[in-house]
Amino acid sequence: MKAKVHVTLKQGILDPQGKAIEHALDSLGFKNAANVRVGKYMELDIDEKDRAKAEAEVKKMCEKLLANTIIEEYRYELT
């Protein structure tokens, strides 16, 4: 199975990169863009046929390494 993991800063935590991009978009004339949040995207193959087991493994990976849950939140898809 393939896992697609998205890690972003939690809502409420200032994202200076997002702010800089927002300003750049604004100066390019995209006046309707707001609340830019920058994150990480990771994909990985997981050698597991059972969906529930694969999901449990990916959750553990996120909690242990892929995200720092003090400042970040994560979501994932399995295909």
């Binding site: 800063l9 935590i13 200032l14 200076p16 990169q17 990480k40 390494l65 720092n68 400042i71």
Partner: protein
């Protein structure tokens, strides 16, 4: 006093730390490769600055799983002195030996310059040579030094005098403008609840001898030396 200085792939302040302990303070130092076990008989462990694992994923996120870190955790749990400087601080946070996390600097820039920090707690093994409220000039060099933690943890740090250094103006005022990176509550360094683990973003090893024009950083290492000597003299009294 025997010091262990950890070396990760990407550490770049390891030899500066060795130099200060060995040549400035005259203490034996052992360089410890991150894949090796922590040697027995150390009195203090230094996790130096640099870019361990190229800062991949997050600063310190991969280094915390290096084999040597298991030994560092045990050493800290036994009450051993551990100091993490810059990337070392980031590793201690990721390892859970200190609370909180680092965000990108408010300005997004890598900042390398002298800053002023106020000693908020001079009753620690890392600051006993300082006076309470003393202002130290120490350089920083980082892009991720914007300390963050949740409000409950922050209140705990404040209540237990775990905030050891705050960024301040040259005359000692911890104003928002004095923080170079946007760090919460101007935090530049914290200790754990037990008091034997310190993390700080400024680099005291870069200003610890007269030749460099600034000796403020030497106070941190001299404090550690004094703390270890006190522990040893107590042990020898008990033993005799």
């Amino acid at each position: 006093m025997k010091i262990g200085v950890l070396v990760f792939p990407g550490s770049n302040c390891d030899h500066d730390c060795r130099h200060v302990f060995q040549n400035v303070l005259g203490q034996p130092v052992e360089m410890v490769w991150h894949k090796d076990a922590l040697p027995a008989g150390l009195d203090a462990v230094v996790i130096p600055g640099g870019f361990s694992y190229g800062d991949y994923l997050r600063t310190g996120a991969i280094a915390r799983f290096s084999p040597v870190m298991g030994g560092v955790k045990e050493f800290a749990q036994r009450g051993g002195l551990v100091i993490g400087i810059c990337n070392g601080f980031q590793i201690l946070l990721e390892a859970g030996l200190l609370p909180g996390a680092m965000l990108r600097n408010r300005s997004l820039h890598f900042i390398c310059k002298d800053v002023y920090v106020r000693v908020e707690n001079a009753a620690t093994p890392f600051t006993s040579a300082c006076t309470p409220g003393q202002v130290l000039k120490i350089p920083i060099a980082h892009a991720e030094g914007n300390y963050y933690t949740d409000p409950v943890t922050l209140a705990g740090l404040q209540a237990n005098a775990q905030v050891v250094f705050r960024y301040c103006t040259p005359d000692g005022k911890a104003t928002a403008d004095a923080s170079p990176n946007g760090s919460l509550d101007n935090i530049a360094g914290i200790r754990n609840a037990e008091g034997n683990v310190l993390g700080m973003m400024p680099h005291p090893e870069r200003c610890a001898e007269e030749m460099l024009g600034n000796e403020d950083g030497r106070l941190i290492f001299a404090s550690m030396l004094e703390a270890v000597q006190q522990i040893k003299s107590k042990l020898s009294i008990v033993g005799s």
